[in-house]
Symmetry: D2
Subunit: 366 residues, 4 copies
């Protein structure tokens, strides 16, 4: 399977590291070849091609779409371009792997999901954190009933890359698709539904705390998107919980956290130490019980593919390799798509529901 | 100053430990003498009298009120009786120390606050956590501007003493004053206002997760109070945040936590390790910075009164001694009351605002 | 039982807080009355008397010895005076509670232990950390075989109060009884034997890292005692382990730690968070196991005497109250002495064995 | 540069993941091509070839040595074969990358180091942990004087893969090169010298705790190597410290830890959370200081090559890629070899010095 990659920035690199790792770590049902890389000019494209191990480079992403030998289009270009590129790729009958967010607006994400399903191509949206072996363990514990009835849920994704008021206005501040909720809260929402199932209604409180930033040419621009967003969520099961998205949390670089409290057990997790899951078992002897710090190991698939010894720890880029493994299985028809365009649309519709709820001060069904 | 104590259960003991410790640890401006202890029958009262070091015992709490030699009435009786006792004590011109909640309903707490102020007696509501030296440090950092502008706040108080569906219906499940929000959320709210000042509006989501419990005679009783409550809060400063109260959080015994994120620094704290405060300073060198685990020591008053060496740690009962020190200073006219009946009313009105907001699905000004 | 306290500094205060707390928290078999306090002059003695709640004060510690109404002599005077005072108290037939170290040299401690046993008085050496409910839990787990055969032991006591080279020469730097090993290592050794039983041989490595300090009048004095000491230890059971004592560990205020590894389970503990014990159970399911953070609660006696709710935490001074409870039980003949002069001598002989081993570069039987 | 890999087990895989990652993450000065893979039979070799992305496979490792197109021989075969293979590779003029230990005995490692230097080939011994960006940060802090004079050092490497007495006798139990000290202590020693420089003398205490194990055919075999080893170490600077190696530490999977205490600051680190370094700065304000949890980020090279955002975390396999980057730089003549055969010999001679010291109960100069 020949891959065409559009974009070679942060996520372009991460994806290509992921392909390289996945192909060695896993026994993939399809073989990916790094064929063609597109970037905005030939110099950048050629540099990236060499660094990332692609055969050919181009400064025109449409070359990838039009190349009949390309099987998979991997989109890590700026968010605003995702839709156009993905639609073109789908139209060309290619499988599409698109970094999150699928599109700035849910309605566009919906169009993409529909198009992909109609075309019968396989799709994948990048949502790394979900691929953590400890997430799979957590979900197994919940779904098997080991935690009993789930009483409550708490989810957070906080970082600090927008905490400095001097940091400039960027496309992430654009009301169309921008804000902490869209950028980080989307992860918190994806994790919540991954673990506990469908969220049926939300109430939001979105707040801009730095109301003005300078753009790249020094002009003051007003910021309308949220820097901090809180939400109440209710799941189909009746369980209630909260979500926080925050990109001005000084000192936090990766506070993607969840806490799940159930009648027979509880879990807490932080992406700051993502090779650990903390588990409390109600039925342990009363004077011997406490949260167990479970360290990731070969007993937590697919950790063992990376390392045969427990406690050695996988890294962020390895999460991407697991994502690619899942996509490969889907392309081969072995497994359902782990997080396809339909799922990507779902998350964006939740984001928009929370934003709308905040504007209207009312619960919104989702 | 002669003290009369009403009640000798969990909090009665804690208070009397607190008086004993405070009188030795601090150079108190008034001397407290443990004079008279009242409990529901003479046997219990006499046992407690001996154990807790009081001179006399009675099975009639009104003996305390009517005894002209008693200066301070300390109320740790069941919540439902607080109002009647406190009003009687105020009417008798005595200073009153009342365990939280001041009264099941805010309106009653208001009546108490008004009465006390009119009578000119000093009052204190038990809110231990606030007395932690690390809370004082946190507030100093915030108020001095060391954390810059505060972007966001997160507060939680979660325990698990109601997590077992088999645990019986109690007065804490009574709609008048009961629920996790009233019992635990009150602490989270007090901490929030202690640190960041007045909360001006709230939005709540209160949830009953165990809808039925058996009462003491085995009859099924429906539960109408919240087991889990979430709230959005907005402070006078414009900062927004969230509060969670939860008494079904299996595995949690003392998760009273806050996180404060500011433009120049951040804090996080957990009562699970309450002799520590974690502080991030934005201006530390970029490759050397991280959350500092500050351990309580003599540099954090009044820790040094308990122990001259840092890191040795004070205990829960010591927090009560600090509370009593503050009350003594107030009685002596040296300092304002640390947390008087007016403050107690304030917290209960916040609790009721959140409950009302949850019923009405609307923001409530506070 | 009337108590006479000699000394009112750090430990004098801690002891009197301990007596006050113990008498309220526990149902003591004997009643302690704070009768007479001695300090080096009447002003200090009188101030302390008032602050600490004693009836009478004196500037002559022999008044306590000679007072026939005094039953218990509590010695918290400077270490160099412990022996003289304790011998006098024993000779007067009084029970003796002496802060550690019992005497600067083991030979003196031995004399004290012999004298006390001959006189038939009860004795207690202050070794707070041992009284922690979590230590009792740890020992129960080990002795009951729950951890299986113990493979290895690691013990540390590190603080930083001598880390500053500018801090002056004190009596703690006197070769007779001084040094980090004597001051802190004694705690690590006591904990090791408390948990695993008799140490049968040791090998030491004692190091002075700040070879000169100024004394109180500014004169340079050479330091000959250890600032950092390492030891290998072997227990009667055959288990081997290590001990570190360190009073120049910048940033450490209370790193009294142990790790115990056994065939069926393991423990680790730090006095920095002394209301927690971490326990790993080999037989937990392989993909669910991890160190459990057990929080102290009423299931871990005597925590419940201090607080009926788990997770609220006892403080350093409370450990002293537990020590006094044990002493009271011993005086009443209910229980063996928790840590008598014989035990105090044992620890000092271990300290000296390690020092000697370090000088001679040879294992020493103990 | 064509690479020939001998062995495709745990470390063979890790190495080949490392090459794949290094070539994409870094701008390597030489290009590595995965040319030829040797394993014990063609089936295994061919399977591994395909999985790991090599061009050709063989069941005879000498094919790699004799192939004139191979530039780099990478040895991950069983330890007992390292010497023979490495000598052959050196004799053929190839650069050699050899997994640790270089050879079971120091004398063999010395022969290898001499041969390599004489032949002028570049060599590298696999010692992953050293390549951690946080180790580099720690060393920079120490060498720049930021921690002041170093008072003491504590190093541990404890795991539990030999904790089960039922686990069979393996080559790691062979007195020639086996034992916890050789297998794990070697890492602790390498870290100690990486951070603080040359160790000049050692004192050891090696202990077998499971004296008999069954071999693969069920016969009882006596175990003579250490399961737990403790050592005192003294550095050229005069600093003293301790080392523990332990492969029966139930519950520990990766307790590679160090603590460094200095006059101006201190560090502590655990490989259990290897993207963090804890740093205490003496000169921070006295009531604001504490150990800082520094999270790895782009400010800590070469983290930024893996990920442009801090806190995302690199994994164990990424450490191997950094090792390969260093080797590539050495081959290109840009940098000294990061950890060559001479360094590998050094560690093994330290291991043997500790073993000898333990047998002779005497300090050994190193």
């Amino acid at each position: 399977m020949k891959v065409g990659l559009i974009g070679s920035g942060f996520m372009g690199k991460t994806h290509s590291f992921g392909f390289a790792t996945a192909s060695r770590v896993f026994d993939l049902p399809v073989e990916f070849e790094m064929e063609l890389l597109a970037d905005i000019n030939m110099e950048q494209a050629e540099t990236a091609r060499k660094a990332l191990g692609f055969r050919r480079a181009t400064d025109n992403w449409r070359d990838i779409i039009e190349d009949p030998t390309i099987d998979v289009v991997d989109i890590t270009a700026p968010n605003a371009l995702h839709k156009k590129m993905a639609l073109a790729a789908i139209a060309a009958g290619k499988h599409v792997y698109c970094e999150k967010p699928l599109a700035p607006l849910a309605i566009d994400a919906l169009e993409l999901a529909d198009a992909a399903e109609e075309a019968g191509v396989k799709t994948q949206v990048g949502f790394n954190y979900l691929m953590n072996p400890m997430f799979r363990l957590a979900r197994d514990m919940i779904q098997s009933g080991q935690l009993g009835y789930i009483y409550s849920y708490r989810g957070v994704h906080a970082e600090d890359y927008m905490a400095n008021p001097e940091s400039p206005w960027t496309f992430r501040h654009d009301p169309a698709g921008g804000g902490a909720l869209a950028d980080l809260g989307s992860h918190a929402l994806a994790t919540a539904e991954f673990l506990l199932g469908k969220i049926t209604r939300v109430m939001g409180d979105c707040k801009t705390v730095i109301p003005e930033r300078q753009d790249s040419i020094g002009a003051a621009r007003s910021v309308e998107v949220d820097d901090v967003a809180h939400a109440f969520v209710e799941f189909e099961t009746g369980t209630t919980g909260s979500i926080e998205a925050n990109w001005v949390a000084s000192g936090r670089t990766m506070q993607h956290e969840f806490e799940v409290y159930g009648s027979r057990g509880s879990l807490h997790f932080s992406q700051e130490r993502f090779n650990e899951l903390h588990y409390y078992r109600v039925d342990d002897d009363s004077n011997r019980r406490g949260f167990r710090r479970i360290e990731a190991g070969p007993d937590h698939p697919p950790y063992g593919e990376f390392c045969v010894a427990p406690g050695h720890q996988i890294g962020f880029n390895d999460l991407k390799a697991i994502e690619i493994k899942g996509f490969a299985d889907a392309i081969a028809g072995r497994e359902p798509e782990p997080f396809n365009f339909r799922a990507g649309h779902r998350i964006q519709s939740l984001v928009e529901a929370i934003q709308k709820s905040s504007r209207e001060n009312a619960w919104i069904e989702t």
